[in-house]
Symmetry: C2
DNA sequence: ATAGCTGCAAATGCTTTGCAAGGCC
DNA sequence: GGCCTTGCAAAGCATTTGCAGCTAT
């Protein structure tokens, strides 16, 4: 059949990214299993392991493309490595300092009060709470 | 006089770091003017500009030493560059995405409610709120 | 004297980029 | 066909490290 539906192809088309083999492979890996926190290197390994060939550069490019398209969100933990989150809605994170992993905290779990006004001519683009954790 | 008091030498001695010329230069630059947010490269420039010679590697080493000693604190914004904060007590930050600068938010300004329990065998080591801002 | 520190240059780790070859519409 | 995308290798950037020489105690 000509019009076989492919969810992942559609995702890409919707944001005007050509559904190339590589991008479809990446997108299906990224979005086929609930919310995830993604590191480029890790994603690359997974994809290679699954038998598909995609270069690391393309992984980076695609993650950036998807982020610009609003399909991913960069988490602002400082660990010299970028984390991309498939959950693009507002929420917070535990950051495990030992194994450098992220755990979601639902947005409404934490109540914030007293967020100060930003400086003149600036507007708030993001409010992020990072709760760092380590072993007891 | 033998026992000339030097505040910055004392700071170093207290944390068991030898008060070498380079470290004294750095420490005095860092702590002589209220709370600051420091980038290694910037600090290096400032010190060179003031006429003192210190290598960039030593700037990095010293910033790390001071951080381990508890005199500085690393801020966890994700900007591919480490920020060290002279204010080591709990407080939060605006992060200006345009000029990559930090602005302090006093700790008690923002009230947090509902911080979730960390996973088993983990304890919270830090709670940090980063409010990203950009131009209107 | 000697343990610790510095500075250079090289190495590292993550990420981006230039460009020729290839693939999608 | 034409434009976008890929992949490689090289470059980029912030940071760390190895090591020989120097310095504080």
């Amino acid at each position: 059949m000509k019009h076989k539906k492919n969810k992942y192809v559609d995702i890409l088309k919707e944001v005007n990214l050509r559904p190339t083999r590589q991008r479809v492979v990446l997108v299906s890996n990224i979005f086929n299993s609930g919310n995830r926190h993604i590191k480029a290197e890790k994603l690359h390994e997974e994809v290679l392991f699954s038998g598909e060939k995609v270069s690391l550069a393309t992984v980076y490019n695609t993650l950036n493309n998807l982020t610009n398209a609003g399909l991913l969100r960069q988490v602002k933990v400082n660990s010299n490595q970028n984390y991309f989150d498939t959950n693009t809605s507002a929420h917070h994170h535990f950051f495990d300092e030992v194994n450098h992993s992220l755990i979601d905290i639902p947005h409404d779990k934490i109540k914030l009060k007293g967020i100060p006004k930003p400086p003149i001519n600036k507007k708030i683009s993001d409010v992020e709470i990072i709760i760092s954790i380590k072993n007891k």
